[in-house]
Each structure stands twice: as structure tokens, then as C-alpha cells.
Symmetry: C2
Subunit: 566 residues, 2 copies
């Protein structure tokens, strides 16, 4: 059948489940947006800027399996680059469509606005090749093949892709297939799969202390349910890594806690490090997931990755994670139930309401009581991310963090995406003032689409996470003190937003225990030198690694210390 | 002498006149910020995010000759990339210092946060090589040489540079020169310079209609005064290109108007296109500077560039612009004064105040009366940029636009930079609501530093410039309707900001004719379908080029038309 290239692209995105596209208009993508508007789908979600759009597409993809954004050449695409690189680092399949300069201008060598205008070509294309797994410049000849290749690659690899659609190509008609695009993997090599499974089963059968350790690919490759089934069947204790917290139910008796080297509890550390058959899912050893390399994974651990398996004495490059897990469940005998929970029980002390200035400790105690089964939780890097690390998450809840990429401001854009993808769920964002200021305007898009999350913003006068690393009282860690609740209210003339400023546990409790109708925006005032203890401990090691032996971190008063936490 | 590498870098920046550094803290740059704070200079200006920091450094560099920003690896640097690419496109020397992951981690192959964490290296370095003219990774061995090379290259080429300072290298001590770094060019080749000058003088002597045409390098290479001296000496009429408006005094009798092909007035078009000896300064033929390639520069024009001269029958690759202009002034005979002004006189009709909804036409008439000699004017792309194009600028005023790169939102960040560089001047920003929303939070930094510009924000419900191209009434060109004045006020708890909302010429006049003390922020409500006529005419050609013959731009109602302008 004959179809315009832009329409075919939009059709393909719809076929693979992309129901919303994020982005910002620009003259090189208006023709594609016109096609989007004319065909009434996917729904266009106009963002305030492209970085926020990339964050939203990332959050959307995490909940939806795929996300997409449309930007304009150069001024748009480069603004989105940090978000796209974050998707790469965090294994999130996002399709970045860049409306690029007209092909006629390329062919004629004309200098165009939104380019370097120096006669060079493909500069931004090459820059994007550094932060995406696959790229294409669409032409009438290659569009059908390349669109399908890029969508499939993003989905299979769980990584972002980049495509350029020249603005004079979107309306060109080409012959396209009538059949839908289906997302699937090629089957694993049968023999490899069988042999790999057999080896793992044999190891498990002879193991005295088998265990599972999950990293982010558990969720990204959609195998959390199968992992849970395997754990249940074999009664394996399950530890999660920081970025994958919540990918195994924390209320399960099999849940063993979060493992991150020296930053872990003693029991989970012992469990992981002394396991004689540790199965990891997508294990990646990064400073921020390993307690700054203080982890000690057994050398004979079996590493299950999205598309390969790695053992001490063997590896399989043609085995897909989902298939392997299904086979493992089938090929193993169910063990009788046991309670292997080793995680410390969460803080059950009396909830003592007071008018005293609120401490981080009280704040997170209150949040532990506030969160409910099924909640979708988004936590920004900083004291928010550190506080969430100490929570015991309820059943069927989802936690989103960006623990390896760690781009502050990400969480607010991400929240727009998760709200669009799962508007039926209660969603909660924890963010700090410093992070909020990077992307604050995107709150207006959340309001514009009548979405109603809870947003808890810590106002503690700056980058407290940095104060735990260096510059405890330095001016460079200070920020402007906005009237946050008024700022939030100013972003819509029509939508209801309930705002609160709280200074004590009593005030916080009053907000948490009331019923609300609109978006709830709570400014939580806390001390700049207060932080979750885990953060302070972890950041000392970060500073030592970052600045080396000649660095300034050991000077008196250079960092927030554990002693001053309230 | 012995000095720490970070301190040497900061010392060098100070030596070349960088008195303020923009940016955002991150754990890979805190040690450098600590050195900045300890040595009390240059002054640190903390931004809300890195894109805004890059825009501010660009604005600062335009006024100061050099600008600098400090960002952290990946999450920071990539966010700044659009701004840095804009500096490249617009020939602005900005030094981007990226605090990168510790060298120890690189050497050991450790996976670090803020990287792709996949074992790859130098991805962001290579991406930055696409948007900067020179790059370096600083080490104890190369730091002294590379820091000087990059600063000099940025200044000489008028282009941005990128340097990575690993976080564990900043405190390493090295042997550094005691002498200051001096910004200078190597001298032109003497013989080339003499021969080039001679040829130009001969051409000028035999010319019947010599003229000057200025592009942005006139200002970037610091030769505006010398160009004016040459024009004055030879009584040459001077036309400016859109991006260089104001680089020659528009009150001078020699000023001939702005030339941009078919978008120019008939007189200036005739003057440029029929000149038998057109001297251009930094001429660059881009769609947005040439009336979408409707210009017609004489084939025998002499093109003077920053570091070369190009003639029909010759070229000189070793002649520097400043030297050449000085020599031309010396080697030519002064002509007697004449009035060759061909620019149309500005609108002098009666200023008719009314309570009717304000039109773009009335708005710009009011601005024509409001601007004063010496003003520093910043105009955002869109109807603001188009409106400013129709103003006759007063003496000693400066106009900043970003006409080729054209990244919306740029102007607000830029304003922070120009205010820091020239706080003694009255500064005025014209911006639209769509553009404002991209970078709005940076207003808080302007307030935080107690700076007091005039900001005029057009609230016309979206991207009107796009409506003139495509999607006249399309939803994708709509944006959220903020309470702009309340938003502005919410960004500071201490600074005074005078806000106004105006709907008519009467209300606008009341604001313009009153005295003010603090920052003045005026929301100007206008019709979404109203725009300067010049914009509408120009954008039809843009749409035809962008979308080609099969595009949607010719459908009825696809674009705002001239007929509906008020």
C-alpha cells in the first residue's frame, strides 16, 4: 500500500504501543506534527522544552515498554541529548525522532538555520551516535526498512535510537507493508538454551545457599514476573541492587534486602557474598550500585543478561533472558516454602508527632506509613533517593530512580511520562529544591493534562547531597529560595492544585491524613545539614574516589558528618 | 612556580578577563568550585540548569570577549550542548570546562555514574568535538599547554572549546609559568597584507558605488569601530545583515538599512546588489540571513573574514581582519561627507493611545519610542525578533539576537550573561511566552543577583512564529497559559520585581512612561494570529523550502496570512 513516510512512522509507533509522543514543535518537524494531528494518534504531548520531553519519554517507556519524542534539528535534538544518554545508561528504549533540515538543502549544500552553518554535515548525527545504539537518516528509499529496524532495535536492546526525518521527506509517498510490526526476539539457539539451562539447574541442585541478585534489566527486559516465579519455585532469597529496588516484592518472605557492598545491611551482604550459587539478572558493577566498589560478588556467580549468560567457565551469547527463565521454572522441582527473609524489619517505633522542625528521619518515617500497595513512586537523586532507599515498599508498587545516570531534575519530567502511561495509578514524586529548579516548568504540562500526582518537595536551601561530598557550607551549593507553592500555582489558570508548606511532623501528618482532589504539592522545609545517614556514609567514599589523595575532602568541615544529623 | 591545575586554570581565565563563571555543581566539579571559592575569583554564578548556564556564558562572552562555564560530566555537559553548539554557530568564544570522572577510574576501567556504564570511553568527548573547535583532556603532563591553547583558540577563532578536567586532577600541583596569558593574534603575513590592501584600495578607487555589508563577525572580531572609521573615511554606505543589526550605528547618515534579499527594502537591496565594489565583513549566506536565498550579492564582492580575504580572482589566507581594516583606513584618502542614507524613515505617525486590544504594530511603535541611546537590547526569536527588525536603533545601543542558531529560550539565559557583563547599562529583553517557558527558571538567578532589566513577555498563547509557517490553529502550537507575573514573583522571596499585565496601548504606555526601581516584568497580552508583517512574508518561503512541493503548507488555513494582521 502507498503511504506518506511520516504517516507510516506514526502508524508503526502506534502499532508497537506508543500511545503518546512527547516533544516540542520546530519548523523542521511541523509537517510531522501536522500528520500526527490529522491522523489523531498517537496523542501529542507538548513539553516546555526538549530535555523535559526526553525525560518524559524515558519515564513513559519505563512503564509502557517503549517511548518516543519528536524534536527539531540541532536546537531541539541537542537539548534532548542528556535525556537520551540517560535512557542509554539506564537501559530504557526511547525513539528520538529528529525533524531535520530539508534533504534539498543537504543535496544543494545550502547553509541552514539550526545548523553550524559552516558547510559541515552530520555533526549532530555523529554526536547522537555516541548516545544511542542505532541511528538512521530516513530517505524515501530506506524509510520502511530503517523505521522498522530502529523500533525493533530499541525494543530488543532496551536502548535509545535516533532517526532523522528531513522536513521535505515526511510527505513523500512510498510503498509500505500492510501488516503490523510485531515486537519479538528471534528464538534463542535451541541447543545453547538447553545446555545453559542444564548447567544452571545442575549448579542449583548442588547448591547449599543459592540466591538471586537483581539489577535493572529485571524490569527492563520484562522478566520480573518470571524471576519471582523462579524464586518462589526454588524458595530462593532475592536481593535487589539499588537501581532495581522494588523489582521484587519487598513484602515477600523471600525478599532479602538491597545489596550495595559496604552500604548494605550485614545480613544481605552475607547472603550475597557467601552464596555458593548466586544468579544475577543484568548485573552491572558501577560505583553507585556497588557501594563505591566495596561489593564482593562470588567469582562463580552466574550472570543472566538480556541476551547472554556468563558463567565462570562458560558463556552463551545466543540465549534470551525471558526464554531461559521460563525454561528454568519448567526444569526445576518446586521446593517447599520457607521464610528466608533476612532484611531488617522497618522502623516500627512510635510515630511521635510534634511541632519541632521536621527531620529527614521523621519525614521518611511518615512516608513509610503513607505509601500504599500499587503506588507508583518516583524518587529524585539526592536526599530523596537516599530516603527512599530506606523504605520497605508495599506490594505491587513501582519505584523509579535514575541511580546510575543520576541527572538531577530527571524525576519531574519522568513523572509526566509515568502519569501519561499509567494515569490510573496513585503516583508520588519525592524531589529536592535543587533538582526541582532544573526542570520546574514541566509541572505546567502535568497540570495542563489534568494529572494529579503527589509531589513532595524538600526545601533545604540547596544541593544537600553535594554538601555531603564537598562544600558543606560553600556558596556554590546554595540556590535561590523560591516561593515553591506559589510557583506551582502560577503554572495553570484552570487546574486545581492543592499546595501546602510544612515545617513539622504534625503539619506533615495533617496533609498526609487528609483527603485531596487535585494535584497535591507539598513544600517540606528541612535543615540543609540534615540528610539520611546512609547518604552521608556513602558519599565519603565517593569524595575519596572523586578527588583522590590530594583532594580537599578531608579538610575540617568539608562535608556534612553523621554526627550532625537530626 | 608550582600551582594546582584547577587554580592555574582559574588564574588563566581571570587573566584573560573572565570575571564571572556560570554553571551548576556536580560531584565531578566540586573540587574546582572549591578552588574558585577559596581563591575568591572569578565570581561563581550558579545557574538553575546547564543549558541556561551555556546561554548565559554565551551572552557574557558577546559583551566581554570571552565567557566560561563549569559543568559536570555527562548529565551536566550534555545538557549544555545546545548552548555550546549555538555559540559555535553564532561565533561566540565560550570555554566549557567539564569536571569529568576521576582519571583513576579511567585508568582502572571502572564503570562510573554519569557515564554510559558500558565500558565505552570518551563518548561525550567525541560528541563535544562535533560542536566545538578544539578539545582537550587535561592531565598533569599537558594541562599548562592545553589550557593556554584552548583559551587562545577560543578567542582567536571566536568559537567555543571544550576541556575535561578529571576530578582527581584539579588538586595536582604542576610547574606553571608566572607570566600572564595575553590574547593576541600572530601578525598577518606582511607581504600578503600589503598586497591584499593594495588590491582593495585599487578597487575602491575605481568604484562608482562602493558599499559595506556587515555580518556578525564585525562584532565578534571586535572591528565595529574600525569598520565605522573606514565607512566614515570613504563615506561608504553600510548595510547590515539581520544578525548584525546595530553593529553599525543606525542613526548615522551612512546607514543604509538591513539587507536580507527579497525581505529587504527596495533601496538597500538596490544598493547592495548593484554595488560595483561591495566589501563584506564575515559574510555568510544562510537561509535565515538571506531571505531564504533570495539575495544576490555581486560576484565581484570582496569578502573580508576574520582570518582571510576572498576576492573573485584572489584570496589571502594569512591576513587578519583587524590589521587589514586599520591598514585600509591608513591607506585611503578621506572623502568629503555626504548623506547616502537610503533606509526608509521609521514610522513617525501619531501615537494613538487606546483601550483596544494591543496589536503587534502598536507594540513595536511603543518600543521604538521607549528605547534609548546606550541600551542593551536582547530579542528572542519569533515575533519579538521580527518586531525588533523593524526598529531604528538608537546610538550606542547593542542588539543581541541568535538569528542563525535560533534556539528558542536562549534570550533569557543570555540576558543573565549580558547583565553580569555590563550591569551599568539599561537592558531590555523582548520574549514570547513559548520561548520563555523553555528557560523560565533562570529569571530567578537574575533576581538573585539583584539585576534589574526590563522584560517584556508577549502572551499570545503559543508559538506564533510556527503558526506563520504551519499549523495556524493546530493544537501542537498551543502552550499552557501561565500566570506569568505571578510566576516571576514566585522566584524570589527578597528581591523586588515590578510586574504588569497590559492589554492595550494605553496600559502599555502607562508602564513605559513611569519610573521604576526594581526589575520590571511586563506581560503583554496579544492576539495569537497577530504578527509583524515581515515575519509572515518571510515564513512562507521558509515553509516552501522546509516541506517541499508535496508539503502541507499550501492548504487553506495552514498559515497565518498577511490579511489577518491587525
Amino acid at each position: 500500500m502507498i503511504q506518506r513516510i511520516g504517516e507510516f512512522l506514526l502508524r508503526r509507533l502506534e502499532e508497537v504501543g506508543v500511545r503518546h509522543i512527547f516533544g516540542v514543535p520546530g519548523d523542521y518537524n511541523l509537517e510531522l506534527l501536522q500528520q500526527l494531528e490529522d491522523r489523531r494518534g498517537p496523542e501529542w504531548v507538548g513539553n516546555c522544552n526538549e530535555l523535559n520531553a526526553a525525560y518524559a519519554a524515558d519515564g513513559y517507556a519505563r512503564m509502557n515498554g517503549l517511548g518516543a519524542l519528536i524534536v527539531t534539528d540541532g536546537v531541539g535534538s541537542l537539548s534532548a541529548m542528556n535525556g537520551i544518554a540517560g535512557s542509554y545508561c539506564e537501559h530504557v528504549p526511547v525513539i528520538c525522532v529528529c525533524g531535520s533540515i530539508p534533504q534539498e538543502a543537504v543535496d544543494c549544500g545550502w547553509l541552514m538555520h539550526h545548523t553550524m552553518a559552516d558547510g559541515s554535515q552530520d555533526r549532530f548525527y555523529r554526536a547522537f551516535a555516541e548516545v544511542t545504539v542505532a541511528q538512521a537518516k530516513l530517505t524515501p528509499e530506506n524509510a520502511v526498512v530503517e523505521i522498522d529496524r530502529l523500533i525493533l532495535t530499541a525494543w530488543r536492546e532496551k536502548l535509545p535510537v535516533y532517526m532523522e526525518l528531513p522536513s521535505d521527506v515526511g510527505y513523500v509517498e512510498v510503498d509500505v507493508p500492510e501488516t503490523s510490526l510485531t515486537l519479538s526476539y528471534p528464538p534463542s539457539d535451541e541447543e545453547s538454551l538447553a545446555r545453559c539451562c542444564e548447567k544452571i539447574v545442575a549448579r542449583l541442585q548442588h547448591a547449599a545457599s543459592p540466591a538471586l541478585l537483581l539489577d535493572i534489566d529485571t524490569e527492563r527486559f520484562g522478566v520480573a514476573t518470571r524471576v519471582a516465579a523462579l524464586a518462589e519455585r526454588l524458595q530462593l532469597p532475592v536481593a535487589t541492587m539499588p537501581g532495581s529496588k522494588g523489582m521484587f516484592c519487598e513484602q515477600s518472605p523471600l525478599f532479602a534486602g538491597v545489596y550495595c557492598g559496604a552500604c548494605s545491611g550485614a545480613e544481605v551482604r552475607e547472603l550475597v557474598e557467601s552464596s555458593d550459587c548466586l544468579l544475577t539478572i543484568g548485573y552491572r558493577r558501577v560505583d553507585s550500585t556497588s557501594g563505591t566498589f566495596t561489593d564482593d560478588i562470588p567469582g562463580n556467580a552466574i550472570h543472566l543478561n538480556g541476551q547472554s549468560v556468563c558463567m565462570e567457565d562458560d558463556n552463551f551469547e545466543d540465549v534470551y533472558l525471558g526464554e531461559l527463565l521460563s525454561l528454568l521454572v519448567r526444569e526445576t522441582d518446586a521446593k517447599s516454602k520457607r521464610d528466608c527473609r533476612v532484611v531488617e524489619s522497618s522502623d516500627a517505633e512510635t510515630w511521635d508527632l510534634s511541632r519541632r522542625p521536621l527531620s529527614q528521619r521523621e519525614y521518611w518515617q511518615a512516608m513509610q506509613r503513607f505509601i500504599l500497595p500499587g503506588d507508583l513512586l518516583v524518587a529524585e537523586n539526592g536526599t530523596s533517593g537516599a530516603g527512599v532507599a530506606g523504605l520497605r515498599l508495599p506490594c505491587r508498587s513501582t519505584l523509579i530512580t535514575q541511580g546510575v545516570w543520576g541527572s538531577i531534575g530527571y524525576s519531574l519530567g519522568c513523572l509526566l511520562g509515568t502519569l501519561m502511561a499509567a494515569p490510573e495509578r496513585r503516583q508520588i514524586l519525592w524531589i529536592g529544591d535543587g533538582s526541582f529548579q532544573l526542570t520546574a516548568q514541566e509541572l505546567s504540562t502535568i497540570l495542563r493534562y489534568e494529572l494529579k500526582p503527589y509531589i513532595f518537595l524538600i526545601n533545604n536551601g540547596g544541593y544537600t547531597i553535594e554538601r555531603t561530598i564537598l562544600g558543606r557550607t560553600a556558596k556554590y551549593n546554595d540556590i535561590a529560595n523560591w516561593r515553591y507553592t506559589e510557583m506551582a500555582k502560577s503554572l495553570s489558570r484552570t487546574q486545581e492544585i492543592e499546595t501546602f508548606v510544612v515545617h513539622s511532623s504534625l503539619e506533615l501528618d495533617a496533609v498526609l491524613s487528609s483527603a485531596h482532589r487535585g494535584m497535591v504539592f507539598v513544600e517540606v522545609v528541612m535543615d540543609p545539614m540534615d540528610a539520611p545517614v546512609g547518604l552521608i556514609r556513602g558519599m565519603q567514599a565517593v569524595a575519596n574516589l572523586d578527588y583522590g589523595p590530594s583532594g580537599p575532602q578531608s579538610a575540617l568541615g568539608a562535608q556534612i558528618t553523621e554526627a550532625e544529623v537530626r
